[in-house]
Structure formats: structure tokens, C-alpha cells
Amino acid sequence: MTSDLLIEIDGLEKTYRRGFGKGFPALRGVSLSVGRGSVFGLLGPNGAGKTTMLKCLLGLVRPSGGSAKLFGQPIGKTQPLERLGYLPEAHRLPGYLTGRQVLTLYGMYSGRDKAWLNARIDGWLDRVGMLTAADEKVKTYSKGMMQRVGLAQALIHEPELVFLDEPTDGIDPVGRAVIREIVAELKQKGVTIFINSHLLMEVEQICDRAVILVNGQIAREGTMAELTPESGRTTFTIAGQRTDLEAMVAPLGENFVGDERGFGLDLTQEQQDAVVDRLRAGGVSIMSISRRKLSLEDTFIDLVKEDRA
């Protein structure tokens, strides 16, 4: 039976040891499941264990405890690795190869036939904007060019699961837009994408689910809607100027702040309805009502602050 879960992590632990000391616990019992076709964000402050978790899944780091599966098979097996692509953070492509050779060799390392790859390499090089520099040695590339070729090598063999660790690092805004497009296309094709990034705006735009790791543990996990709830802060803009607004609506909510264009209040949905009724009854003309949502960054910062507190 084929499971729809591509990644299953259960109580994963990793402690880095140096010498005979207790070591540094990078992961403390992380459990997580990722289904097919989702774009999954992995967030967290520096040292939270994001990269360690990815590396455990990819066999680059040996877990100290717990278990994990890729495509239903325990990590450490080579077979699942043929079905995934990985763009490491701060990767170093071999300088003695050209961009084209990188895609050929790394695609072949993933088990693809050379002829199969040759039919696709130009397309991918073009897609990441590296076709013209394809036959130059990697050692002559800029950081952004390396990142583009690195992304192409992660995707050239058409993996079902892709891990992107800081994919837009060193890429200009146009390049970032291209990467967002590529991710959207992959999602449409049913490829599962795991993105580790510090650019929360980007994650918010691209991902449909995310997990926030803090101190080696999952602090929050959910859909983007769940991670960016409405804050309850409601801003009313009214026509004309009224001096009795505070007296009229402040008792209905909290934290009233007025200005020349209207006022703001912390309100639930019911309280908001009551405020509208009160304003209309008082003859106030309402030009707009906006409820502010929490950004991913707000959620993230709150969680980190909570942890530090």
C-alpha cells in the first residue's frame, strides 16, 4: 500500500557532541507528517534545528533518537533518495565542472540516464536564466548564478519531493519571482516542496503549510490561515468629523484610539456588529471597515519572544 505521507517524522532527536561533554541538542523530539503535493515551510530562528532536521531526512546527519521515513521507507535507505531533490544552503558546486556538466552529473547521480537528462538540461538552464553561461566553469560563477544552477540540479531529475534550503539566498528580485513561479508549477504537478527560509514574506506567499521550530522543538504547525489569524484590531473610517465617537463606541471594545479619519478598536466579530449598529444609529456615515490579520512574521516573533521569556 502506498502511503500519501511522503515524510513521517516521529520523535526525531539529534544531539551534536564534541568530546565527552553533554553536547548540544539540536532537535528534541520533533514529530511531523507531510503529505503529497503540499508546499511546506520550515521556519525558525538561527539554531532552531531546521537544517539539522532536513539533513537527518537526507542522511547527511545521523539522528540520535526517534525515527523518520521518506516515501514510507526508513531514512538511510538509498532508494527514496532517488525520488528527491535538494538545494542545500550555502552549497558549493564543483568548480571544475560547467553548469551543464553539473546538471548532467548530478542528474546521473540521481539515477537518470544521460540521454534523458540531455533532452531536459537546456530547458532547465533557460528556466533559471543560466543558458548563456551553461558552458562556463562553475568557478567563474557569481553567488546568484551558483544558486540558480543549484536549484536546477535539485530539480533536473524530476523529483517527487524537493527540499529547498534558503532557495532565494543571493538571488535578485527578478530571480526570486522566477523561483516562486517554478515552485507554483511544481505544486501544480503534485510535487511536494519543503522550503526552509528566513524570508517569511516569501514563505507566506508560497507555502500552504508551515512549521515553526524553536529550540529544536515544534512551536507551531498549521496552514497559512491558521498561522496568520486575524488580530481583532478593527479600523473604522468615517465621513466627516465627530467628537463623540469615543463615548459612543469605546465601551463596546478595547483599546480605543481615535484620529481625524476615524478610530481603531480591538473587537470580536459580534462586537464589531454592535459597533456598526451603534454608529449607524448615531447617524455616523461609515466609509470603510478593515480587520487586520497577523502576519507570519508577527506569529514567528511572538513565538520566539515567548520562548525566550
Binding site: K55, L60, Q79, L97, Y109
Partner: protein, 498 residues
């Protein structure tokens, strides 16, 4: 799928080698000795530069033996291939390939490679093979170029030198396995180079030290030769007692153990020489007696044993069967004979039986007696020497030598006796009286009779010898050591968290 991965490993290794600037520099450096053999011609009578623009006879440059050309070629080949190639060439190749592993496991590079569905060990071994490929390409260019130069310019075909490709790669195979291990443990190219050079040096010291102590043990002053129960008629039975200081004995044992365990890189040169001989075997070889005649000089012709006329009837009776005979264009004849040493036994009152082997001095006396009417040739000095000759350096290895000269009719005869193993070998040199003695001596020199004392280790290094001198053990134990280092390196790599 496996084919794709394997092909990728091979191509990756190939690209890494070909893009290496040191490889390209070395490829150019390798052209220099090749160029030498294309501009210097080794001809039968002369050596020429730039295809005859300048030329010098062998006598002009101080090489007076009839086989000066072969000796000159051998010497130059030995310097260029075994010396420069086998030591400096391998060192440069280590310097050029030491970065393969440290660079592969740098942060960022390792992540890209080791998440692929290929074991880390496969990547590790592919880098190792890349190094071997690097060296085998360079050594093949060197050897093939030298071969072509010799064949085209000097008209000398030496197919045996192709074995040097194998022996150069063999040395690198062993040394590079250590370099790889250091590379994976320290992740530093500089450390890998330095420690590998140190390891090689240490290794050479162990083998050289052991070999020297072995040789010294046989001939050196620390072995007391006690003449137990010596009797009046001079039985030469001896009992060797090792009374060296304990520290020296301990050092000798340690070096012996080290020699057995450590890879024997120094044997590559000896192996190469043996392999070259397999292509151009000596004209005569007695392995047990460690006696070998490499070749007959070019202006001499080998004679069938049945055509040999002894210079004196007693010679055939006293000196035994003919193993080799040759005649020169000038009418000189050389006959090499051998006969077994006579043995007798003596029983002492204690019941101890001692076996007594014939001394060379006795054989010499018998020969002089049998020759009877022979008399020394004017101007020649008769100087028999028996037993230990301190000036010879290694008298016990060289056994005893004796020489006699006399006149037989119109010909001068010189007879040399040598004790080799359980045999007495003899040279009978016949020449017309008018031929100068130098010609005969030159012939003996050109015969290239081996072994000489400097070949001490090579004499013992042969199939069937004890482990310490056994070529099969040498190669297998060295390769096993290299494999162990590789396995350790692969294991260490598998334990690294990237």
C-alpha cells in the same frame, strides 16, 4: 540506473583530473625526459645529440666497456624513471591529488553529493580511483614517450620499461590510500600532503633500516663467529651467536615487524627490475645460488656448450659442466662452468655430527695442481684471494673469490673461481697472447654478472623466499595495508555529520 550512477562517478573523476592545473603542469614536465630520449641518441659506437649534430664515442665520455651503450641507457632510465619518476613524480602527484577528498567533504560540497542515492564509500573510492587514473595517465605518457624515443632515435627496443607504468602506479596506490585517510580525518589538504610525505619517509626508514640491519647481521662486526670444537684440519663449521646489545636486538625485531606489516613501497623498484627481466630474461640464472649473467656483450657470440674447447684438459674435469660460453670477434673465448661444492661430515666424540663444506682455497689448490705445467703469463699478476677480504666490504655475501692466470700454448688463460651457494662457479677466459688483457677484463665487466653486493636485497627478493623477502607477500601485504587504510577512510567518512 546503476550504470548511470557509475558513469557519473567515472566522468566526475575524469573531469576533476583533467581540470587540475597541476596535472597539466606535470603532463608538460613529463615531456622533458621524453624529449631527452628524442634528442639524445644512444648508438652502438657513440652517443649523439640532436640527431648527429654533435656526437661523442663511448670512449670519449669515459665508458670503455663493450656494452657501454646498454649500461648508459640502463643508468639514464634508472635515474629518470625509478629516481625522478618514482620519488619526485609520485610526490608531485600526491600534492596534485591530495585535495580530492578534503574538497569533496567541505561544507556545502558534501551536502550536494552525499544526499544522492550513492553511498559515501562509492564517492570515496571514486576519488581514490581518480587519483590512480591521474598517475597512470602521466606514467603511461612518460613510459610510452621514452620507449618511442629510444626506439626511433637510438634504435633500442626496451619493452620491459612498460612495467614501470605498473610499478609507479603501484607505489601511488599505496601512498595515496594513506593520503586519502588523512584527508578524510583532518579535512585538510596541507595536512594530507605533509603527513603522507612523513609516512612515506617513515616507511622507507623502517624498510631501509631493517634491510641494513639484516645485511649487517650477516656480515657485521656484532656477530661473533665461534669455532666450536674446532679441529686441527680446519673444519669451517661455525656457530653464529648474536650478542648484540638488547636495545639493538629489540630495534631489529621492531624493524622486522614493521617491515612485515607496513606497505613495502621500496620493493616497487626491485619488482620493476624483476619484471623488466621477465621481458628480457638474463642469459643465465641460478636462483638458488643467486648467480645471474644478464647478457652477452654485443660483439661476442654465444657458443653451444658442445663446441667449447677447454684451454687446458684439466679445466673441464676440475670445474664441471659448461653453463655458458661465448667467443669474441677477436678470437677470445669465455667459458662459465659450475660444479657442486664437495661436502663431508665428521662425527665428534660427543656424537655431534658436523657437515664440512669444501673451501674455495682447496678447490683453487686442486686446480693449480691439475694444471701442472701452466705458468703465469708475463705481466699478469697472480693474486689468489681466499675467504674474507675486508676491503671487499661484504665478504661473506660475496663468498670467496680466487683467480689464476697461466699460459697454455699460444693462448693466455685466466681462471676465476667463485663460491655461490652450494656451487663453485668459474670463468675461464682464453685469449690470444697478442690480445691485451684489458679486452678480457672488459668482457667480464660487460657480462654484467649479478648479483653484486649492492644487489643484496634483490638477490633475496624472489618467489619462494621467506616472507620478509617474498615478492608475493610484499605485494599482497602492501595492497592489504592500502585496502585497510581505504576501509578506515570510508568508515570514517560514513560517520561524519555534515
Amino acid at each position: 540506473m546503476l550504470a548511470s550512477k557509475t558513469r557519473a562517478l567515472v566522468e566526475d573523476a575524469l573531469f576533476q583530473v583533467l581540470d587540475n592545473s597541476v596535472f597539466r603542469i606535470l603532463a608538460v614536465v613529463v615531456l622533458l625526459p621524453i624529449l631527452f630520449f628524442f634528442v639524445v641518441g644512444f648508438h652502438p659506437d657513440e652517443v649523439s645529440l640532436l640527431w648527429g649534430t654533435w656526437s661523442w664515442s663511448w670512449n670519449d665520455i669515459g665508458l670503455t666497456t663493450p656494452d657501454a651503450r646498454s649500461k648508459a641507457i640502463d643508468t639514464v632510465l634508472s635515474i629518470l624513471i625509478d629516481g625522478l619518476g618514482g620519488v619526485f613524480g609520485v610526490l608531485f602527484c600526491i600534492a596534485a591529488t591530495a585535495f580530492f577528498v578534503p574538497r569533496m567533504i567541505e561544507k556545502g560540497a558534501a551536502d550536494l553529493l552525499f544526499h544522492k542515492p550513492i553511498s559515501r564509500a562509492a564517492f570515496y573510492f571514486s576519488r581514490y580511483l581518480a587519483g590512480l587514473f591521474f598517475v597512470s595517465i602521466l606514467s603511461t605518457i612518460l613510459i610510452a614517450g621514452v620507449f618511442a624515443g629510444l626506439a626511433l632515435v637510438s634504435r633500442h627496443v626496451e619493452p620491459g620499461i612498460f612495467w614501470s607504468t605498473l610499478t609507479l602506479t603501484y607505489v601511488f596506490t599505496i601512498i595515496y590510500s594513506f593520503c586519502m585517510l588523512v584527508g578524510v580525518v583532518t579535512r585538510s589538504t596541507v595536512a594530507a600532503i605533509l603527513l603522507t610525505v612523513l609516512f612515506w619517509f617513515f616507511n622507507s626508514c623502517v624498510h631501509g633500516g631493517w634491510s641494513m640491519m639484516e645485511m649487517s647481521r650477516e656480515i657485521g662486526p656484532f656477530v661473533q663467529v665461534e669455532d666450536h670444537e674446532a679441529d686441527s684440519d680446519g673444519a669451517d663449521e661455525t656457530l653464529e651467536v648474536d650478542d648484540r646489545p638488547a636495545l639493538l636486538r629489540w630495534l631489529h625485531t621492531s624493524l622486522y615487524v614493521g617491515h612485515l606489516i607496513l606497505p613495502k613501497t621500496g620493493d616497487a623498484g626491485v619488482l620493476g627490475h624483476k619484471l623488466r627481466q621477465a621481458v628480457s630474461p638474463p642469459v643465465y640464472e641460478d636462483i638458488d645460488a643467486a648467480f645471474r649473467i644478464e647478457r652477452i656483450p654485443s660483439d661476442w657470440t654465444r657458443l653451444p656448450a658442445g663446441d667449447v674447447q677447454p684451454g687446458h684438459p684439466a679445466l673441464a674435469a676440475e670445474l664441471g659442466e659448461v653453463v655458458l660460453a661465448a667467443a669474441s670477434d677477436a678470437g677470445a673465448v669465455t667459458v662459465v662452468r659450475r660444479r657442486p661444492l664437495e661436502t663431508s661430515s665428521r662425527t665428534f666424540p660427543s656424537g655431534r655430527v658436523l657437515e664440512r663444506k669444501e673451501k674455495l682455497s682447496g678447490a683453487y689448490d686442486d686446480l693449480l695442481e691439475a694444471l701442472g705445467e701452466g705458468e703465469p703469463v708475463d705481466g699478469w699478476t697472480e693474486f689468489p684471494s681466499f675467504g674474507y677480504d675486508e676491503n671487499a666490504g661484504l665478504p661473506r655475501l660475496d663468498a670467496a673469490n680466487a683467480r689464476a692466470t697461466f699460459l697454455a700454448g699460444e693462448r693466455a688463460i685466466e681462471v676465476g673461481l667463485m663460491r655461490r651457494g652450494d656451487w663453485i662457479y668459474s670463468f675461464e677466459l682464453q685469449r690470444p697472447l697478442e690480445s691485451p688483457p684489458d679486452e678480457v677484463y672488459a668482457f667480464v665487466e660487460a657480462l654484467d654478472v649479478s648479483p653484486v653486493q649492492s644487489d643484496w636485497y634483490e638477490q633475496r627478493f624472489r618467489a619462494g623466499a621467506p616472507l620478509a623477502y617474498n615478492p608475493t607477500y610484499s605485494v599482497l601485504s602492501s595492497l592489504a595495508f592500502a585496502l585497510l587504510l581505504l576501509a578506515l577512510g570510508a568508515w570514517r567518512l560514513s560517520r561524519i555529520d555534515f
